[in-house]
Amino acid sequence: MGERILMKGNEAIGEAAIRAGCRHFFGYPITPQNELPEYMARRLPEIGGAMVQAESEIAAINMVYGAAGAGVRVMTSSSSPGISLKQEGLSYIAGAELPCVVVNMVRGGPGLGGIQPAQGDYWQATRGGGHGDYRLIVLAPATIQEMVDTVQDAFDLADKYRNPVMILGDGMLGQMMEPVEFREQTVSSLAEKEWATTGLRNHPGRRNVINSLYLQPDKLEEHNQHLQRKYAEIAANEVRYEEVDVEDADLVVAAYGTTARIVRSAMEEARREGLRVGLIRPITLWPFPVEPFARAAERAHAFLSVEMSAGQMVEDVRLAVNGKKPVYFYGRTGGMVPTPEGVLAKFREILEGKHNG
């Protein structure tokens, strides 16, 4: 057990990445995630790594593409508008099946938007975000400790499936400080990256090629089928979520990240008032935890998705609940954060509406 230290979310991610073996970081500044590239710029040169502040987000993601192709653990981070710029690169990286970890500390949009916390990039993150049929594995921690633990998981998943992994936070998680403990890490027993382009000297007689271009349609379809099999395997094996008080809940709430914590605060008050409210907190946003929602739909009366968006994850909740029960939505946008009081009022509205109806 390590000691507990008080750390900002952004810096905690940096330290966790280094401990997970990341020695290469490419980024471009944007609020509210700047402390992460700053941390890497300070620390990586001390330990034989490299942080490059690129000339743009597009350059940074393509540097990630190159480093990932060479088989090293590599990370980039940005916030919403910057992540939009990285989408072309992400599509190439997914197409070329390379592992990397991308951090998005989401801020209010659309456009340049604002700099306060938001969750309006859910669709972009969970639907690939760039062109073509691909998926990112998307992890959404809710505390700084979970963020730290998630980083190791993210690198392992990226390597295991040769797929980009996104850590989806928000401005609040990036900026806030909480105690964290860096746990002793088990050395991951992952296969050697035999596909990496490290020079013929290192893999004599075998030409390794990193590529996402397949001009023959039948070959490209074959490649797509291979990717889809991989995504199905990820969906079958890597779903992560947390359930709180779902067993007896009349109302089951879906919320992730910061919002899930606000919902937890509202739930405590609701339970004191005798309202039976439970929470399903997706930790992987893709693959989405369909099964717990489907299970809860057998007995709960209603569902509610609470988000810092105009309603994005609510669509996945509706797909999972599959019409069995009503699915409501409550959200704030633009960097406005839902308050426990506002969320509680929505609980009452739904549950009392049910009793009256």
Binding site: L6, G114, Q175, E178, P179, T258, R261, R264, S265, E268
Partner: protein, 178 residues
């Protein structure tokens, strides 16, 4: 017990540090803590503030809109946060810079001439420690010793000669209410 507080003032008055010391001290005592800063344009020229939770239980929402405690180091901060305090809560305000009296009658109010006391001690910049001392005198949510440990951690070694002065400031603040 759960203490939910907003600490606010001008940029440079040390309210972020005040919050970090409370969070760090709470952590060293094995409590659950969170520290959430305001960031962005409001920091530039207006008020800076941070939200701190110190609790026996895991921290739910790190964002507090109805704090039990507000420390206001300047007038814009008191104007902004006075109304948000829970009934029965506590307002500690810097009466050196805030000339009006609080309007609320359903909360406890502590006026701390923080800058005057800091000046008496010979350094205007430790007004934040005077206010923190007064807060801890009223609500001893962490031990003073833990705050001193936190200070030792927060200040770079070449500033450690300032530790006794900070301790004096904390003490003066605490004596003001105790």
């Amino acid at each position: 017990m759960t203490f939910e507080m907003i600490l606010a003032g001008f940029g440079g008055q040390g309210v972020m540090l005040m919050g970090q010391l409370l969070a760090y001290a709470g952590m060293t005592e094995g409590k659950h803590v969170s520290w959430l800063p305001s960031y962005g344009p409001e920091m530039r020229g207006g008020t800076a503030n941070c939200t701190v939770v110190v609790s026996d239980r895991p921290v739910g929402s790190p964002l507090i809109t109805r704090p039990g405690i507000v420390v206001a180091m300047n007038l814009p901060s008191m104007d902004k946060f006075e109304d948000s305090i829970k009934p029965g809560g506590l307002l500690v305000y810097n009466s050196s810079l805030i000339t009006r009296s609080p309007k609320r009658t359903d909360i406890e109010v502590v006026a701390v001439p923080a800058n005057e006391i800091a000046n008496e001690l010979g350094n205007d910049r430790i007004a934040n420690m005077v206010a923190l001392g007064a807060l801890l005198g009223k609500k001893p949510m962490v031990e003073m010793q833990s705050i001193l440990t936190a200070l030792r951690h927060a200040l770079p070694p070449h500033r450690h000669h300032l530790l006794p002065l900070n301790e004096q400031a904390l003490d003066r603040g605490r004596k003001l209410v105790g």
